[in-house]
Symmetry: C2
DNA sequence: ATCGTACTACGATAAACGACGTACTACGGT
DNA sequence: ACCGTAGTACGTCGTTTATCGTAGTACGAT
């Protein structure tokens, strides 16, 4: 029940990874996790969508093999699967995160005024 | 009719690029172009889809800013926008192409019987 | 002018996607 | 036992996507 299914490294598909990353919300999550560097609860990342939509995006990321999710108490902790991804697609995650970080959120959706 | 519209570098969006790359057919085109290294006619890349579907995929790639398309005679020549992409998203294209090349087309399941 | 090749434009369709709300489960604290 | 917090499952809705076929345009060769 409280155990989440993750794809094994050999089942992670490039297209699924690219597809998962091709969404502003999910890119934001990945960017946040990369910056945080460790485990982050869903509730700590303030996405501009409803909770059920948030759950959907986390699921897509997990099923693509991009993030690891584990329950602790009532929280669900997320972290990047950096090692797996780096081994499978060297440089991919880094370049995407770097690009996303450089662009910030402005190209995606949310915009800070001022 | 003979001039095709391409996004300027500053209009190329990371998400659009990732989205365009997240398709087996288009990934195959990119892989082919990377390997060829220069201009390649649409007809030289044998995609397992109808011609009209092929046109659609080339268009997506062009509109995302991934490929350059130019007419010559009855042919339409395609080439990667490597410099633009490398400047915008350093390492991204290389890592995707390397990953796609390593996997080949089989793992990407660019085919189903029929 | 006619023909063949290469590619396009249009319209249709089925599937996938992103978004939501509501009702629900799981856990910790009181 | 009860409540609040954190997140899920399900059903729905509108949009986008991938696919096709058919009809058409552009160009080079004859």
């Amino acid at each position: 029940m409280r155990v989440l299914d993750h794809p094994r490294p050999e089942d992670i598909r490039l297209e699924a990874v690219l597809h998962a990353l091709a969404d502003p919300m999910r890119l934001e999550v990945v960017r946040f996790l990369a910056q945080a560097g460790g485990e982050v609860a869903c509730s700590e990342i303030d996405l501009a969508v409803s909770k059920s939509t948030g759950t959907h995006h986390y699921r897509v990321l997990r099923e693509a093999g991009i993030i690891n999710q584990v329950y602790r108490g009532t929280a669900k902790l997320n972290s990047l699967r950096r090692e797996d991804l780096d081994a499978l697609f060297p440089g991919l995650l880094d370049s995407v995160i770097a690009a996303a970080a450089r662009l910030g959120t402005r190209a995606s959706s949310a915009r800070h005024s001022g």
